[in-house]
């Protein structure tokens, strides 16, 4: 099967949101997705992109069939004050029916190349500990589990907490 890996364009936004929701469902947290196509479009394809996206599309079997988007990765660049630029892999997903064909490896290879080209010293992301297939997929390729090896825990402040912290103090 032929597949093509390319940079996402504004017209891909509906497919990106569809895959974001599919991944959230796989992670059993789909109720947490409140993002809209409008926000994805503004945030990724406006003056200041907050994310970058690559997608994998396949050509349908009949030439009359539309191309189908079957996988994607969303990433951005972050900064580690100890070693410099990092590529942060935010989302990475291949549709169930298209796994085991090398699409995921192809996406990772492309991102690793990009990381090297842009002088990033590492590629970082989070994985849910109960996601055995993914944990094994990354460990096989030499990834380090920093939560296990160094004791890092992921913390989050949600909107309500942010509003409270940003409010001026009473003093």
């Amino acid at each position: 099967m032929e597949y093509k890996l390319r940079k996402a364009e504004p017209r891909d936004v509906p497919d990106i949101l569809r895959l974001v929701k599919e991944l959230a469902k796989y992670e059993e947290m789909e109720h947490q997705v409140t993002l809209t196509e409008k926000e994805l479009l503004e945030d990724g394809f406006g003056d200041t992109p907050f994310y970058h996206c690559i997608i994998t599309e396949i050509q349908g079997e009949k030439s009359s069939e539309d191309r189908k988007v079957v996988g994607f990765a969303m990433y951005y660049f972050t900064y580690d004050p100890w070693v410099g630029k990092q590529l942060y892999l935010e989302e990475f997903y291949v549709m169930d029916e298209y796994r085991g064909l090398g699409i995921g490896s192809g996406i990772l290879r492309h991102l690793s190349n990009l990381a090297m080209k842009t002088r990033c010293t590492g590629m970082m992301f989070v994985v849910a500990e109960n996601n055995e297939p993914s944990v094994q997929f990354y460990k096989r390729r030499g990834a380090e589990d920093l939560s296990q090896e160094e004791g890092w825990r992921l913390f989050r402040f949600d909107k309500d907490s942010l509003v409270k912290m940003a409010a001026p103090s009473e003093e």
């Binding site: 100890w82 500990e129 390729r141 030499g142 589990d145 296990q148």
Partner: protein
């Protein structure tokens, strides 16, 4: 005591670099600090800066969340963030932080495609 919070300027990089090292020592990982104030100056204060240094940016850019990592043994920090309303997602949702670097990142970039 009076103190002032302001945006960092290029001249602050020597102090920022010193504090990064102080924090790394506190986190028991000083040998992992590989960049100096020169790189901070280059990466933070050039045409397209890679980082900005104020919490107010979060509200300004209409962000819905602020995410960070804390070491599991660092109880004062964990308590500080929890008191302000942060959740430990490693505990509540099972997230682990993963990294590919050095030779492993190289290998990934050079992996032969499965055809």
């Amino acid at each position: 005591m009076n103190f002032k919070i302001r945006r960092a300027a290029k001249e602050d990089c020597k102090d920022i670099s010193r504090m990064i090292m102080d924090l790394a020592i506190y986190e028991k990982m000083p040998d992992q600090v590989k960049i100096s104030h020169e790189e901070l100056e280059r990466d933070g204060f050039c045409q397209n800066p890679l980082f900005e240094s104020l919490l107010s940016k979060v509200a300004e850019k209409q962000c819905v969340r602020l995410q960070l990592s804390v070491l599991n043994w660092n109880t004062p920090s964990r308590d500080f963030y929890a008191a302000k309303g942060a959740q430990d997602l490693t505990v509540t949702e099972g997230w682990h932080a993963i990294r590919f670097d050095g030779q492993n990142l190289d290998n990934l970039a050079n992996e032969a495609p499965k055809d």
